[in-house]
Symmetry: C2
């Protein structure tokens, strides 16, 4: 699997797994989180490799449809960007407070 696609689907699975059936969840979890092959999942559930493949492909399409409608992953990424900026800002503020402490020490020396 391509790494970028895997990462995306792992995130989509994380956001929308509560909307999937138990079987869909199991197959997706084994395939994307536990790195099972299609053949290994097929053996585990005593079904054909093709059945597992079809189920996973349908689930992937469902996850993409949910994302198209609810945009939870997209909004998560946007929030992450803002969080990064807020964290940088927070670091500046921490330095600022140190600056403040030094200023106060200077004042005491008057």
């Amino acid at each position: 699997m391509m790494l970028e696609k895997t990462t995306r689907l792992t995130y989509l699975f994380d956001f929308y797994q509560s909307l999937l059936t138990p079987k869909q969840k199991s197959y997706m979890s084994l395939y994307y989180l536990d790195d099972y092959s299609l053949g290994e999942i097929a053996e585990e559930y005593s079904v054909s490799r093709q059945a597992v493949y079809d189920n996973i492909k349908r689930t992937e399409a469902m996850l993409e449809q949910y994302e198209e409608k609810l945009l939870l992953f997209q909004k998560f990424q946007e929030r992450q960007k803002i969080m990064t900026k807020l964290r940088e800002f927070s670091a500046v503020m921490a330095n600022h407070n140190q600056y403040e402490v030094l200023l106060q020490e200077l004042e005491k020396l008057d």
Copy 2:
């Protein structure tokens, strides 16, 4: 309708309307956003008042099920609380910057 229930369902509709059918969306929108009565919606769509009522009740149950699974409204409320605190913090910082400007003016007078 009770105000609190109306507010909650208006929010749930806002978060999950993309997952509803066009008819569900129309009925909910007229009922919750445009304050139509069940009878007025029934007349508008040439259906029985009971049909509109049943459709809206089913949609409300669906919205609550989506919320149970995805918690978008709950997380929104939690984020709002944190945003309020961040805004208060931002006001303190604005004051802090003013303090800073005054300190710099003082320094210039040395």
